[in-house]
Amino acid sequence: MAEPPQERTALRMVNIEKYFGSVCALKDINFEVGHNEIVGLIGDNGAGKSTLVKILTGVFAPTSGDLYIADRKVETNSYTVKKAHALGIETVYQDKSLGEKQVMWRNFFIGREMTYPFGFLKVRQEKAIASEIMVNTIGFRGKGIGVESKANKLSGGERQGVAIGRAMHFEAELIILDEPTVALSLKEVRKVLNFVHKIKDAGKACIYISHNISDVYEIADRFIVIDRGEIVASITKAKISLKELDEFLLEYSHGLKDKVQP
């Protein structure tokens, strides 16, 4: 991977920890994402991947540790989703990206509406832009899906298309996809992967979370393996083949088992 002249990071986490009550969900997390790097985050269910994502998108505050976005330190206690949006961080979730019963134009602008004074919505403008994105960026053409359609009328792939189109519209510097392909058909998964390639081409950064190792292998520059709240490996793609990565993950989980039961 060719490094850019000036080294910049899109994101850096230093000694991040997160407790839910007395349960430790993340421990001693140190990692960074380069400004045009695609990082694949791999780990079992409950490993702490989504928790990590929520910390860096402002949904949760970490219990301790420092967060840097675009090389600037973030005040984690007052960090919010709105601030994350303002810093160019966009997230696409498996199932939490859209309000099911809400129309498309609302889904595009929820949380950062275009408003007149006193918070009244600029409905006409929102609809026009949403329509533009749906037709030109996402590629809904004709088939009865428009800005007035509710999210529950869309297929899983179309929903992710909308969430991704929204992320692109708001000019993300770092796009996080948290298991975006779980409920999708193969054809739809392909679209999502193509989109991640586009992120790379556009010079942006991405964190991609998936259980499908071959998907992750295809798009990521580097793989970070997380287990029970801890980062256990960070491997660049150049150093490992898909088969080796697969075997590593398999052996790793066996290795852990052995440690637990000596």
């Binding site: 809400q102 929820i110 949380g111 009244f120």
Partner: protein
């Protein structure tokens, strides 16, 4: 799109259409079955006098239910606000201060509900049920269980402004409540607050990850409903010139019924303000209407139940999809040769 399509398309966009039809049919039936009552204007004037407090409560409850919550405490707020107002009027001769304090009392009750629900995560049905008992208890206690007559209120400006009679016959509160319906329609459908409420009711987790402050919004929501219910209490108390400690007691179920038959779903995520308006008038005129037809007192509740059931079913069946199906059917009759648009499942892909 053919011209016929566009001609019928607006039907689907008319908010509260099914329930407006129910109201219209109901009045037509009453006009035929009780012509002596329902062809005169008096019965309608009496509805415009009795429905507004209920309608005002229903406006606030529409927001609550849209947010996926429930509030059982608004009847107690109706009583508390009535007491605060009458006390200030009687003892301080300060109706406007009483007015403000009554609204503030409603805000306080709502704010505490909001704190319980949003911060302590007490389910709203439990928090507001407790609040309902508690604030009724408080009201009865400080009122000493006695009613307070404020006949002198009828000569005041505040009375004229809120519950006076336009042209000597038309109850002004009907206009106030209509104005509030319009205002809160905009808040629900054209304001960031209403949008936040819809997303929270739909899926609070989605709202949260999209940057909505779910807790703050819930507190604002309950506080707002407290103020709205307090205003309803003021309308009621001023209209009848007397505070009685049990006022509001009978409002809980009719107001809930009005919201539900108006088309707002208990599932949350969407609210139909126009439906709440018509729903309130259906609920508010049903009993008087059925009694006027003379079919006998024992039938009243049964008929009321039937009308409510019919309205709710109509909303589900002729909801948004239903109306578009009707429009499509009508279009087919109009243009028989035209193929209906296919409902293809997964293949809406671009080339």
């Amino acid at each position: 799109m053919s011209r016929t399509t566009t001609r019928f398309a607006f039907i689907g966009k008319l908010e509260g259409l099914p329930i407006a039809m129910v109201l219209a049919v109901m009045y037509v039936v009453f006009i035929f079955t009780a012509p002596s009552v329902f062809t005169g204007y008096r019965i309608y004037m009496s509805f415009f006098q009795t429905v507004p407090p209920m309608l005002v409560c229903a406006i606030g409850l529409t927001f609550i239910i849209t947010a996926g919550e429930i509030d059982l405490s608004f009847p107690a707020v109706v009583a508390l606000s009535g007491f605060v107002f009458t006390w200030c009027f009687k003892n301080l001769n300060a109706p406007w201060i009483g007015f403000i304090l009554a609204l503030a009392a409603g805000a306080l009750v709502g704010y505490i509900n909001g704190l319980l629900v949003a911060r302590l995560r007490v389910p709203s049905i439990m928090a507001t049920l407790a609040a309902q008992f508690f604030w009724y208890g408080v009201t009865v206690l400080i009122a000493g269980g006695l009613q307070i007559d404020i006949g002198a209120i009828t000569t005041t400006t505040i009375h004229t402004i809120f519950v006076g009679r336009l042209f000597g016959v038309f109850p002004v509160q009907a206009l106030w409540s209509l104005g509030l319906v319009a205002f809160f329609w905009f808040i629900l459908n054209r304001h960031t607050f209403g949008e936040a409420i819809m997303f929270i009711g739909d899926n609070a987790e989605v709202a949260r990850v999209m940057g909505i402050n779910v807790e703050t919004t819930r507190i604002q929501l309950f506080t707002m409903h407290g103020v709205i219910a307090a205003f309803a209490g003021l309308l009621l108390t001023m209209e009848i010139n007397v505070f009685f400690p049990t006022q509001g007691q009978g409002m809980l179920l009719p107001v809930m019924a009005a919201v539900f038959i108006g088309g707002t779903s208990i599932a949350g995520g969407q609210g139909v303000m126009v439906g709440t308006f018509f729903g309130s008038y259906i609920i508010g005129s049903l009993e008087a209407g059925v009694v006027a037809t003379g079919i006998g007192g024992y039938w009243v509740q049964l008929v009321e139940g039937l009308v409510m059931a019919a309205s709710v079913i109509l909303n589900v069946v002729i909801g948004e999809e239903g109306v578009s199906i009707l429009a499509r059917t009508a279009r087919k009759w109009a243009v028989p040769a035209q193929a209906p648009p296919g409902e293809d499942s997964g293949g809406r892909k671009h080339a």
